[in-house]
């Protein structure tokens, strides 16, 4: 095997943080592809430019995604990366593994690929980094026969992903792992066979901490919340008071200013609490949500290309999230249907909503306008009215004339 | 004179608030035009629609503005309002009058017009409501010979206007009346002869109270401010404490949280004060700005048509405002020049800045970028760089390599 001289990236083996270069070298010891990847990267570092080409059309029979084609312009110089495709495997909910399962994944990958991985890709997949076109079918057969399917890519549903939720967190308002598994199974067809205008991502967080960053990078963000009061254990509050300035750290930082603490008792005006989770996270032994649990559905977040980054918008303020998740699945189907009808190629759902207006979207999916959906009402006077709207206002006015009472 | 039956608007003579209908009737007693205006208005009330037509081309010789043409579709039925043009007279700074001056205005108006006025129009002019085309030259001769000139209209500088400022207010940071007078005189040509793409309004407020609403409705908003500390008279603070909960009403409402009050002494961390004026207005005997005085220049506010309402944007965080106001006059000329070069017809300065970008505007008028101009920096990564920008960054980096110290 060729030994590359890699002074620039060698420098990145120094220092306390674990080194990706060391990882590449480990793989390169007995893998041509990884070895050439190392030389190829040193070349990039020395010239300050990348040499990868656009992905071509590679994949496994019958699927439209799960493999990202990648070729190098320097295939002559570094034959091991002339083809260097990525395979995405759909991770288990919550990124839990047993050593047995992981070793199995490694065995197959060592057999067919570069021995390099990302644990995990940014969407959530297990990313197997670098293989050749002619190995793809074998890779798929090996993995799928052992229970591992590919993840999403292209204009399709992307691999759903979630926070650790009820598996290890006291704040989960619904079962993020189960929902993610259920949706992934329900929509296998949409995940593997690209029929959308562009990608669609789903991420599930159990509470407002949003540990899977759903609000910023999911076309559908499912964020757990609750309806009841925050229960207070005053004895535990006393314990916290020993090490914490409760007024400075909690009461004054409450965004709705609905708390008070007189040095003895902590009080919450629950009607005005917006469930931001700050107090709960800082006093987890003393404070606990109660009552009905469910999620807020937000739609539309994405990266900046084309119209600038979007954060997801509240569409359904509260929805029950319980197996078999029928209501949520129906909602997803309705959303896709409207999106499909209205999107131009490469338009994400958020972009289409912005283009067509929230009303068109909400009416199509059967959701009422609610002030919970907005931060503030419109500022400009350029309202649309349908003839039915005006007729309804006039009917209301006629009614008011009769009853003598206004309903604004 | 015809007596109209006006049951609908008669109802508006009842009730405690002074009635505009009563005013119209007063004028109608001995004025045909006012009398027909009354009948005409009753007609609008009964049919719920207006009958005025678009203004035609009326004005006084040599001027392009100051008269708003108005005709009624119902000229046959109400001949007194067949022509019903408005004359705008440029008000004195601060809307101060003597009875002598006002009576003179009334005398001329009774002679040639409807006897109806608006004290004042929304821009600030004395509005003389309703006259005929053939009276315009006479009206202008009568008023101008007595020292009253017309105000602005059309695609021109509009009549500048200001708050009462130093004439009766302890908070004025510059002489709003004098500046307004000086600018109006300096730019007479631009006011009377429309050479702009659209209207341009200037409003001058002496402090952040903005009693002339400049920030919302002036292409150039001039808002007084200061640079020094807020001086505190602790004895007066004690007096206020008798009737005021200083912590609740002042300290906790301070937007920068830079105040504290321990029941004895009021403290302000002036470095962090943003000069919002809240504390000063509520404790005017105790608190006084000090140090250098001047104004913040904001640009661009306007009503919603076409792109939605704009509030004015901070362009020059601080400028001295002292006679002969050379710096400010030069700035205005530079702004007009850039606007002229870049505006499409009927585009206000704010719209053009939004279209062409703030950088183009600031560079043209010679103002540096400063964080005071923004609420927050850009969110998207779609930055423009000139070759000079990049060269400058590279030069800085080369310099840093030499000195071993980074300048971010």
């Amino acid at each position: 095997m060729k030994k590359y001289n890699t002074p620039l990236i060698d420098d990145l083996e120094k220092g306390p943080w674990p080194s990706f270069v060391t990882e590449m070298k480990k793989a390169a010891k007995n893998n041509e592809m990884a070895n050439d990847a190392l030389g190829h990267l040193e070349k990039c570092y020395s010239t300050k430019v990348g040499y990868w080409k656009h992905g071509g059309i590679v994949g496994v029979l019958g699927y439209g995604g799960g493999v990202i084609g990648r070729y190098s312009e320097l295939g002559g110089e570094f034959p091991g990366v002339a083809h260097f495709h990525t395979v995405r495997l759909n991770q288990p909910s919550g990124f839990f593994y047993t050593s047995k399962a992981l070793k199995e994944i490694c065995d197959i990958w060592d057999k067919y690929g570069s021995g390099l991985t990302n644990m995990h890709g940014s969407t959530g997949d297990i990313v197997l980094l670098g293989t050749k076109t002619d190995a793809l079918e074998a890779i798929f057969a090996e993995y799928s026969s052992r229970g591992w399917d590919l993840g999403g890519s292209g204009s399709a549903l992307r691999t759903p992903s979630c926070c650790i939720g009820p598996a290890r967190c006291e704040w989960a308002n619904y079962d993020t792992l189960d929902l993610t598994y259920a949706l992934t199974q329900e929509f296998q067809d949409e995940l593997h066979r690209p029929t959308f205008s562009y990608k669609f991502k789903i991420k599930a967080s159990g509470c407002a901490c949003d540990c899977v960053a759903s609000i910023a990078r999911a076309d559908m963000s499912i964020i757990g919340t609750w309806k009841g009061d925050i229960k207070i254990d005053q004895a535990e509050v006393k314990n916290y008071a020993k090490t914490m300035d409760i007024n400075a750290e909690i009461v004054n930082m409450c965004p709705t200013q609905c708390m008070s603490y007189d040095g003895k008792e902590l009080k919450i005006n629950n009607a005005e609490c917006n469930r931001c989770m700050h107090c709960i996270t800082r006093m987890t032994k003393a404070l606990k949500p109660s009552g009905e649990r469910g999620a807020t559905i937000c739609i539309g977040s994405k990266a900046p290309i084309v119209v600038g980054s979007l954060l997801s918008w509240v569409i359904v303020p509260f929805i029950k999230v319980e197996p078999p998740y029928t209501e949520l699945k129906d909602l997803i189907r309705k959303i896709w249907e409207w999106w499909d009808d209205n999107a131009k190629p490469r338009e994400r759902i958020g972009e289409v909503i912005e283009m067509k207006g929230m009303r068109s979207f909400l009416e199509a999916i059967g959701v009422q306008p609610q002030p919970q959906q907005i931060k503030e009402p419109r500022k400009d006077p350029f309202m649309f009215y349908t003839d039915e709207d005006i007729a309804a206002y006039k009917a209301k006015e006629a009614e008011e004339k009769k009853t003598g009472k206004y309903k604004f | 004179m015809k007596k109209y039956n006006t049951p609908l608007i008669d109802d508006l003579e009842k009730g405690p608030w002074p009635s505009f209908v009563t005013e119209m009737k007063k004028a109608a007693k001995n004025n045909e035009m006012a009398n027909d205006a009354l009948g005409h208005l009753e007609k609008c009330y009964s049919t719920k629609v207006g009958y005025w037509k678009h203004g035609g081309i009326v004005g006084v010789l040599g001027y392009g503005g100051g008269v708003i043409g108005r005709y009624s579709e119902l000229g046959g039925e109400f001949p007194g309002v067949a022509h019903f043009h408005t004359v705008r007279l440029n008000q004195p700074s601060g809307f101060f009058y003597t009875s002598k001056a006002l009576k003179e205005i009334c005398d001329i108006w009774d002679k040639y017009g409807s006897g109806l006025t608006n004290m004042h129009g929304s821009t600030g002019d004395i509005v003389l409501l309703g006259t005929k085309t053939d009276a315009l030259e006479a009206i202008f001769a009568e008023y101008s010979s007595r020292g009253w000139d017309l105000g602005g209209s059309g695609s021109a500088l509009r009549t500048p206007s200001c708050c009462i400022g130093p004439a009766r207010c302890e908070w004025a940071n510059y002489d709003t009346l004098d500046l307004t007078y000086a600018l109006t005189q300096e730019f007479q040509d631009e006011l009377h002869r429309p050479t702009f793409s659209y209207k341009f309004k200037i409003k001058a407020s002496g402090c952040a109270c903005d009693c002339v609403a400049s920030i919302a409705r002036a292409d150039m908003s001039i808002i007084g401010t200061w640079k020094g500390d807020i001086k505190i008279d602790q004895a007066e603070v004690k007096n206020y404490a008798k009737t005021m909960d200083i912590n609740a009403e002042i300290v906790n409402m301070c937007p920068t949280q830079c105040m504290s009050y321990d029941g004895k002494e009021l403290k302000i961390n002036n470095a962090e004060c943003n000069r919002c004026m809240h504390c000063i207005t509520r404790m005017t005997k105790a608190l006084k700005p000090s140090g250098e005085r001047g104004a913040t220049i904001c640009i661009g506010s306007k009503a919603p048509i076409v792109v939605g309402s704009l509030l004015s944007w901070v362009i020059v965080p601080f400028i001295k405002v002292e006679p002969p106001y050379t710096e400010l006059k030069d700035l205005i000329r530079k702004i007009w020049e850039w606007w002229d070069d870049n505006a499409k017809p009927r585009e206000r300065i704010g719209e053009v800045i939004e279209m062409k970008g703030m950088r183009s505007f600031l560079e043209a008028i010679g103002v540096q970028p400063q964080p005071q101009q923004i609420k927050e920096p850009r969110k998207d990564p779609f930055m423009f760089y000139t070759d000079e920008d990049i060269a400058a960054y590279k030069a800085k980096e080369a310099e840093e390599k030499k000195t071993g110290k980074y300048k971010f």
Partner: protein, 82 residues
Amino acid sequence: MEMTELQNKIYAFCEAAKGKKKLKEKDIIKGVSEAEGAPADEVKKALRGMIDVGKLMYSYGGGASSVEIPSEEYLREKGLIK
């Protein structure tokens, strides 16, 4: 260029646009100074001279101001013709 000659050019410029395009003062100054090589401020002065005596007039329509050749009605109202 002579003031009167310049004013004739301006008048011709306005006449050419009549019924086709509403001219803003700026359009005239720019157009005539480019066509005749006259400095913009001279054109402006010449134009002002014409407007002051009713050879041309400011007009307002379509929400914006423009410069036009006056109608007879206007001239009559201003007492410039009988």
